[in-house]
């Protein structure tokens, strides 16, 4: 079982009251005191309730759900809502515009099961909520393998097109910036400012790029830099100061506390002079920087091949 699956199983166990008391108490604390954990728990709970109304639970999980989870009026409300959501999906699926969900058309192997307590009605009433431009779904299906996004409509499509265009432009600019940074040696202006402050705002063409300087965690134990991102920011440039510059190239992975998997990875980059020292600078799309704690993990790439962890740079993102 992967660690992600194991975590999911622990969360489900917690929600169903089947964890040992000491572990449940630890989760109690995290559920209030740790933002990332609180969100993960909330998402897991929604998925669990949805699985219940879809008839996807079985065995001990189902039994615990019915004997423990449903013992609270507050939680029964959640089940009621999930049932309504399920009915809505069925209505959309049964509409003439909707036909069968794309996932089923694609033969994904997911089997239709009778939902628990909320039988799937095949409603024939007109879809009052039907998106006006379901025709656009056809175009989206061409963009997305396996034909997901069955429910996409014109608005979503326009939005996605806009986002994709912006993203492509941003990535292109980020590549340009990266190339610029790789030209040795480039004088990087001293960007360091008081902790948590915005160091500078550099309009590059029409891109709004903010720059911050981060120190390796070993230099300031316990201290977490604050990266303050105002609305309209396209990208954030992070200058990772090096204790020593021992590798010809580097790579950076951005992680959150909530996930083992990086949310972003750089290509291989060279260090450059920064004030009296050396630094590796990366440019990250601002859209990735949601308010939470991040860690930029720096890896050194040897000329002969192979890689070695160099350090990590913790920071906290806040939106202004």
């Amino acid at each position: 079982m992967s660690s992600e699956k194991r975590d999911e199983a622990r969360l489900t166990g917690y929600l169903l009251g089947s964890l040992p008391e000491d572990e449940a108490e630890r989760f109690d604390e995290l559920s209030v005191a740790d933002e990332d954990f609180a969100w993960r728990l909330r998402i897991a709970e929604n998925d669990l309730v949805d699985a219940y109304v879809r008839g996807e639970l079985s065995g001990e999980t189902l039994e615990r759900f019915e004997t423990h989870y449903l013992s609270s009026a507050k939680r029964r409300e959640k089940v009621r809502f999930a049932g309504a959501l399920r009915l809505l999906e069925d209505r959309l699926a049964a509409s003439p515009e909707g036909a069968a969900p794309a996932t089923r058309l694609a033969g994904s192997g997911s089997k239709e099961r009778p939902p628990r307590h909320f039988p799937a009605p095949r409603l024939t009433a007109a879809m009052r909520l039907a998106p006006a431009g379901l025709l656009a779904a056809a175009a989206l299906l061409l963009l997305v393998p396996a034909g997901y996004l069955f429910f996409a409509n014109l608005r979503l499509r326009r939005e996605l097109t806009r986002v994709q265009t912006q993203r492509a432009s941003l990535e292109s600019r980020a590549r340009d910036l990266q190339k610029g940074l790789e030209r040795p040696p480039v004088e990087v202006p001293a960007l360091r400012q008081p902790e948590g402050a915005v160091a500078s705002r550099e309009p590059i063409a029409k891109l709004q790029v903010l720059s911050f300087v981060l120190l390796p965690q070993t230099r300031g134990p316990g201290r977490v830099e604050t990266v303050s991102v105002p609305p309209g920011t396209d990208a954030v440039s992070l200058q990772l100061q090096l204790e020593s510059d021992e590798f010809p190239r580097y790579r950076v992975a951005l992680r959150t506390a909530a996930s083992d998997r990086p949310v972003w990875r750089s290509g291989s980059v060279r260090s450059a002079r920064a004030g009296d020292g050396r630094a590796v600078t990366i440019t990250v799309p601002a859209a990735l920087l949601t308010p939470r704690h991040f860690s930029a993990e720096l890896t050194g790439l040897r000329a002969a091949g192979g890689a070695e962890p160099v350090g990590s740079y913790a920071f906290r993102v806040v939106l202004r």
Partner: protein, 200 residues
């Protein structure tokens, strides 16, 4: 049995504002942090089988507000952790007052009659009503949110996971960020549906 706490202190407007500011940690959230903390606390008491989780959440936040009023600030512990510590005391007091079933007690196993509380399978009229309420609630949120929530919850099991990955990629978000966004929208809809049910 419902726990009863001494209600000899209620936060003044100033104390409440101080609490909001302290929870915000210097970044004005417009009360969002307070609501989020209240939601987390109520969920904690609910998971601990307390009979009045919302009241206990309010009691916890009142105590924190009082402490802030008395001390000016609480700087030794981060706000969220401090709230948990206060909640733990409130919980233990409620247990002592008989406001919670003992650990391991399962009301539904112990009392078969309580199974009546299991969500009844709605008949076709009730289904229609439920659906109508949800549709009205959906009309009250921005179209973009409406599209996202419908798209996010489409599909089953593995297909749903893959679908979410695709949706997140197209929106330029991580799956985690997409899930949080969907969760926030779902909360709004749940609250709306509850209001509809209460007024029906």
């Amino acid at each position: 049995m419902k726990p009863e706490f001494k209600k000899d202190w209620v936060p003044s407007e100033g104390a409440f504002r101080r609490l909001l500011g302290w929870l915000d940690e210097g970044v004005d959230s417009g009360g969002e942090k307070y609501l989020e903390m209240r939601r987390r606390l109520a969920a904690y008491f609910d998971r601990r089988n307390c009979p009045s989780p919302d009241e206990l959440a309010d009691e916890t936040l009142n105590r924190v507000a009082r402490r802030l009023e008395e001390q000016g600030t609480i700087s030794e512990t981060p706000p969220a952790r401090y709230c948990y510590i206060a909640a733990r005391f409130v919980f233990l007091e409620s247990v002592r007052q008989g406001g919670r079933a003992p650990a391991g007690f399962d009301a539904r196993r112990a009392d078969p009659a309580s199974l009546a509380a299991r969500p009844a399978e709605p008949d076709s009229a009730a289904r229609q009503e439920l659906l109508d309420c949800l549709e009205q609630c959906l009309q009250q949120i921005p179209p973009r949110d409406r599209d996202l929530i419908v798209g996010y919850y489409h599909g089953e099991q593995r297909a749903k996971i893959e679908h979410r990955q695709q949706l997140a990629a197209l929106l330029g978000l991580t799956v985690n960020a997409l899930s949080i966004r969907a969760c926030r929208i779902r909360d709004k809809l749940e609250a709306c549906l509850k209001t509809h049910a209460a007024s029906a």
